[in-house]
Symmetry: C2
Subunit: 216 residues, 2 copies
Amino acid sequence: MTAGPSSPVFGPEFQDQLARLLVWRRDVRRFRSDPLPEGVLAQLLDLAALAPSVGLSQPWRFVRVASPERRRLVLANFEEANAEALADYSGAKAALYARLKLSGLREAPEQLAVFADLEPEAGQGLGRRTMPETLQYSTVCAIHTLWLAARAAGLGLGWISILDPGRIARDLDVPESWCLVAYLCLGYPQEEHADPELEREGWQDRAGGRPDLLTR
Amino acid sequence: MTAGPSSPVFGPEFQDQLARLLVWRRDVRRFRSDPLPEGVLAQLLDLAALAPSVGLSQPWRFVRVASPERRRLVLANFEEANAEALADYSGAKAALYARLKLSGLREAPEQLAVFADLEPEAGQGLGRRTMPETLQYSTVCAIHTLWLAARAAGLGLGWISILDPGRIARDLDVPESWCLVAYLCLGYPQEEHADPELEREGWQDRAGGRPDLLTR
């Protein structure tokens, strides 16, 4: 193997710690309201930009949602979508759904809307002729990178998808070519857990163990 | 902060190493042909299954493509899609595109087709009423987790999207509800780099530095 002079080797101790990070990464909906330390958000975005992207298109676009008026619009969007979702369930399932806390929109000190630019100049179309959705997938890689880096820094991240995405784009007044991929809450978590809240609350178990692997 | 007795703290040394992993994670197309050690693929899939998923739907479905006949079908699919992509460019750009090595399909010892099940039982629909594409996004999180874990173990991963995705699903004979998200090559890399091959080859520069952050 040809390796550059500074090519790193990641030893078993780091690999164990990385596995521990993956185990303790959670979707957080219960935040403390104290702000992030100065500069931390910028550091996390630097790391997110190291994510892979199709044809090096780097299509991720981050919007920091800070004004109370914009946050109110997002909260109203979530509450309407969540009420409609609740109406899809009935009986005990509806009662359980209604008890779940599905967003930290009222408490999280930082909120980010993350878009994919579907017409990026960078990359010149490479790799996305037959699978244009790889622009959104690249943006998901940046979000997941941000998530892991946040957890490593003691922060929690929550991904909210119970929203009308087109309405978010309009309410935040972003360019026409931007497509909402995720709305994120970020802050210090009130609690740390190795198991998902949806599992603790009895909504859904994890499969447990290895995913099925077909062979062809 | 309430924290369980074993809730981990990730110190600055781990955070630095994680940043180094993100810097050295590459999309690899130049593989050595020697196989993965026994058990390593299973370990990587265990870690991938720790990824976040919408409503705990765990929609990722992995198919190990091992037979020479199936691999030939995938290679033919790639070569046709790549020839069509080349025809979109002209002049110096076309000449450069033709020189790029865009897959390791002939050499990589392991190949995985990764699908999202668009009708998973798990999760009971939670979180994906208005954004059903979060099933594919969850699968991307599992792929990105696999990617980082592979790099930490000294392996390289390459994501191929220059393919007709429906044809892959048919050629691999998977259930109707499965949607191809990525076709992955996995193996030991011939070379290690901190910069992307597309940048070294002059196709596309990285933006460099922090992504733009709008505030609203």
